[in-house]
């Protein structure tokens, strides 16, 4: 059993729901992340020697 505390028979529904959310949420997240711009890198100006 993956749960630390007993969650009863409804735990199976919870697990199934979590799996579905994991798959569909993962696809949705991946789609959003692809379109998210990567922040510009911080450029440090070092003093010349």
């Amino acid at each position: 059993m993956p749960f630390y505390v007993p969650v009863g028979p409804r735990g199976h529904i919870f697990r199934l729901g979590s799996m579905m959310i994991g798959v569909l949420g993962g696809i949705s997240y991946w789609w959003s992340a692809r379109r998210r711009p990567v922040p510009a890198p911080v450029i440090l100006k070092l003093p010349e020697r």
């Binding site: 059993m1 993956p2 749960f3 630390y4 505390v5 969650v7 009863g8 409804r10 529904i13 919870f14 199934l16 729901g17 979590s18 579905m20 959310i21 994991g22 569909l24 949420g25 993962g26 949705s28 997240y29 959003s32 992340a33 692809r34 998210r36 711009p37 990567v38 922040p39």
Partner: protein, 289 residues
């Protein structure tokens, strides 16, 4: 060794960073004046917790305003502070918990078990995180993580303190009090799990939860019955001493839970399941020295 631990229970308004930080600061100050050595703020205490279209503008790196502010407080007040925030690393967003120490170190844990709408907005973390502090090894977890057995098995014999930041809902209609048909029995577990962990692992547990109103959104499973449940956070922030068995628990409103805890002497090998190596902040999005 005995230290004073504080679990800060507070409501956070969605997307109101300034007022949330201000509220947290007042409670942190109260904890400092009460002699707290270690304080925990709830999950996403700065942004608020709820389904919004995009958390990207709220995402922060370790140099962002929230953690910079928290680190300043750690240095000034000689406290170790844990705070939940939305972490941005490149294209990705994480539901993270940072632990900042007075000497400037920042350890970051990324929530592994994302539930409900969270998986649509965040990327799950990949491992546990043991932060080494002056008073011992602190195992970090965020909200729903604590319901999974593997989280505590990973920390068994490897930590001296467990710290959980949460935005754990009651899963009951806040107007009628009627529990949700599927999740109704999960809400009260927020008060039970920290005590069970303390007894099981033999370490103190600090559990800081949000309070106030929320809307629980359960995609897919709850679509027909409770897509948007008018809910409230469960509160019940707790500090439990695993050795003495003492337990101080908050109610459902804003509250500062303060208690002395016993840090057991380190047992077994010191193992660090860090996601990141301890490298300077400029080159890492995780633990930084």
């Amino acid at each position: 060794m005995r230290i004073v631990a504080a679990a800060i229970q507070m409501p956070s308004d969605l997307l109101k960073l300034d007022s949330n930080l201000e509220r947290a600061d007042l409670l942190l100050k109260e904890a400092y004046k009460s002699g707290a050595d270690l304080a925990a703020l709830p999950e996403m205490f700065n942004t608020g917790y709820g389904l919004i279209s995009d958390y990207t503008p709220m995402g922060e790196t370790l140099d962002g305003p929230t953690l910079t502010h928290i680190r300043e407080r750690c240095r000034a007040w000689k406290m170790t502070i844990a705070a939940g925030f939305v972490e941005r690393c490149g294209r990705h967003l994480y539901d993270s918990l940072a632990l900042c120490t007075p000497d400037g170190e920042t350890h970051v844990y990324r929530k592994r078990h994302l539930v409900f709408w969270e998986r649509f907005r965040f990327r799950p973390g990949k491992g546990s995180q043991v932060a080494k502090t002056p008073f011992g090894r602190v195992g970090l977890a965020v909200c729903a993580d604590m319901i999974y057995r593997r989280v505590w098995n990973d920390y068994r014999n490897k930590i001296d303190v467990a710290l959980v930041a949460a935005a754990w809902p009651d899963f009951a209609n806040r107007h009628t009090g009627r529990p949700h048909w599927l999740m109704g029995h999960i809400g009260p577990l927020s008060a039970e799990i920290p005590a069970k962990v303390a007894a099981d692992l033999g370490v103190p547990v600090i559990f800081a939860n949000q309070c106030g109103s929320t809307h629980t959104t359960i995609p897919l499973v709850g679509m027909w019955l409770a897509e948007r449940l008018p809910d409230r956070f469960a509160g019940s922030s707790t500090v439990v001493d695993g050795k003495l068995g003492t337990r101080v628990t908050a109610g459902a409103r804003e509250e500062l839970v303060l208690s002395e805890i016993t840090i057991p002497s380190s047992r077994g090998p010191i193992a660090c399941h860090s996601m990141y190596p301890l490298v300077p902040a400029a080159t890492s999005s995780g633990s930084a020295a």
